[in-house]
Point group: C2
Chain length 407, copies 2
């Protein structure tokens, strides 16, 4: 993207684009491209393994929806393709969230869901509560609204609700939302305990704020019983989705395929109505044909694909944990994810992961994401994220051995 660019000043820089600076933090994402070059053994990109994609089913589904009517190529309603919204409502029901299609709006992946919610809920100077580290894309999605961030400690909170509210007010705004990835989080792979989930709901209740539940990896549990979603717990407390402070962001990207860009938000109808207007103003509707195809894929293959993905990523996680165990020197620690695509490594204090990445790329052709990118306040220099979704057993062994040698 930045190749071959004339080094000239542009009229756009200072004068027109006064809002552009806040986007600059996003440049860190460029890193993900640099390190995902051919020839590089990458633990960087948090993307699903294309070997799992239902290619034949997708081919059949595109042919079928184009055979049935030309409507697949036409504009469609902003809230999304009705049969897909019905499927999602039924899916949410299996997760303990009773709702109907009017509680669902289709988005271009859950990234768009986060951006819409940030835009709806945050004004400049307001406070968003996030974990540190948290999903980089969420920080980017919210940052266009220029919030202040404050840190959630879901497992061991020493902060009172009042302390959050007071800090927000002295910064000139209010606490407007909390954002969490409760299961198999990006970037840590960590899963919130039931107690932590309940305490988050308590906090949201006392502050009277919405919680954005990012469930991107929720279907990728490797073992054990699933924990209830925040939304399911909130509905149990408050009697129904219409009273839920939790907004649920789901996606087909990790179970079926991300290239169609189909995700959703589940929430109370008053919220969904607002979001549909934002959707309309933002891109009219998500690609009609992809919604119709995703509906067919979900009907035919969601459960089987989720099973395949769980088995596939569990194997890779096992290889990664074994390799870390085998090779890493004392003083290096890591998470043991019960699902999802990521493990999180903490290096001894004083070792800088960004510097390690430079050496690792140069000397071993191995890539990962330095952890600092996932902190809103620039902490975490001695941490890094490893994605095990793409490399095979031999690559994991070689890559982790190389990293360990460099340490």
């Amino acid at each position: 993207m930045t190749v071959n660019e004339p080094a000239q000043a542009s009229a756009w820089e200072p004068r027109y684009a006064r809002r552009a600076k806040r986007m600059a933090a996003s440049e860190i994402r460029e890193l993900l491209k640099v390190v995902d070059q051919p020839g590089v053994l990458s633990f960087a990109g948090g993307i699903p393994d294309p070997a799992l994609f239902p290619v034949e089913e997708a081919k059949a589904a595109y042919a079928a929806v184009l055979g049935a009517s030309s409507g697949a190529l036409q504009y469609s309603v902003s809230e999304g393709y009705q049969p897909l919204r019905h499927w999602i409502a039924a899916h949410m029901d299996t997760l303990g969230v009773r709702c109907d299609a009017h509680n669902i709006v289709i988005t271009c992946g859950s990234q768009q869901a986060l951006e819409f919610l940030g835009r709806l809920l945050l004004s400049p100077g307001d406070t968003a509560l996030v974990t540190a580290p948290t999903y980089l894309g969420a920080l980017q999605a919210f940052s266009g609204s220029e919030p202040r961030y404050d840190e959630l400690h879901p497992e061991n909170s020493n902060r009172t609700p009042a302390s959050y509210a007071d800090a927000a007010r002295s910064a000139g705004g209010d606490v407007k939302l909390a954002y969490v990835v409760p299961s198999f989080a990006n970037p840590t792979g960590a899963t919130l305990s039931l107690g932590a989930r309940e305490r988050l709901l308590d906090l949201a209740g006392e502050l009277d704020i919405p919680i954005i539940e990012d469930a991107a990896y929720a279907m990728l549990r490797f073992a054990g019983e699933p924990l209830p979603s925040l939304m399911a717990l909130e509905i149990a407390r408050r009697g129904g989705i219409e009273h839920s402070r939790v907004v649920y962001c789901g996606t087909f990207s990790k179970v079926l395929a991300p290239g169609l860009r189909v995700g959703w938000i589940a929430g109370c109808k008053a919220l969904v109505r607002r979001l549909v207007l934002i959707k309309q103003a933002s891109d009219l509707n998500s690609a009609t044909i992809n919604q119709m195809v995703m509906h067919r894929l979900a009907e035919a293959a969601f459960d089987a694909q989720a099973d395949r993905a769980r088995a596939h990523y569990r194997r890779r996680r096992d290889w990664l944990l074994a390799a870390l165990q085998r090779h890493m020197p004392a003083g290096v620690t890591w998470t043991r994810p019960a699902g999802g695509l990521f493990a999180w490594v903490t290096l001894p204090k004083g070792i800088d992961a960004a510097t390690l990445l430079q050496r690792s790329l140069r000397e071993a052709g191995v890539a990962f994401v330095p952890g600092g990118a996932f902190f809103f306040d620039g902490r975490g220099h001695n941490t890094l994220r490893l994605s095990y979704s793409l490399p095979d057993e031999a690559e994991i062994e070689r890559g982790i051995a190389s990293l360990a040698r460099l340490l």
Copy 2:
């Protein structure tokens, strides 16, 4: 969308969604759904005729890209699919705009282009210059940034640049952009003369503001030589796209198909870099598979489809103009579009088009869009938009005769 909804107050309304109110104007778009019901003869929706969609070509293209690699189902770069950006750059070259792929960012239709540009350029209280009437979707896209609007009079301006700047400053902001649909505009069907185009560039130069050129209908000229785009004129003045104040928003929606949601922005590289970061934060990337398919469709069928569309819509425009001529009473006037999908009707003063619509739906089952929706300041009660893209000759005859009878 608003069906079956409990009439209960929601926590989201007053407290959380303090930004939501500005979206309320968008509710007018709901009208377009109401009037596009089966059984209603509709001149309302500004959508292409699905009879023109390249369904067989699309079927072949989806099969081909899914046959070639599973990459079509994967995430991809935020700036867009490189071969498609190259095709677009070459297409822009045929329109007198020399540029390369680094001047292009792919968006989800040109609606997303407008929303991104509004978000990048406008802060609350800033002024956006628009014609009155103008494209409703642009007002919605910009309104999330809470601008003030001021009116462009491109054909017969009696306003000095200073008068715009002064008005903006006394309203507490600056003039930050001008937005126009120079050719076959939505909603009027009007096309700016060469003189008006040059005067717009003069104005933008004196105010030192960007012009957003919405070229959604530019390929749908029915007769005569195309006028140069604003961007081509600006490049001729200023020596290259890197110095252009004009930003060009293009789309495949009107020539190929809108259901894939593929449009683009062409601009100087500094701007495109900013927009790529906004794209990344907003939805990561437009659907990979649709970009690959659109590239194949554009390569194979763009010119032939544009020819088909021009012939098709010209015929319908002719039917519409003939029917208006035949039936409309004295005192009713209308535009004679040289391209695009719309004609604009002005009723005698005192006749309210919204009231007429209610009667027309009830008594004749005929729909159109009352013109007031397209004015930022609520003028235009005695105007209406007729889209001739969908009804056939007999329907046009019957619909216009019915409207005329009601008048």
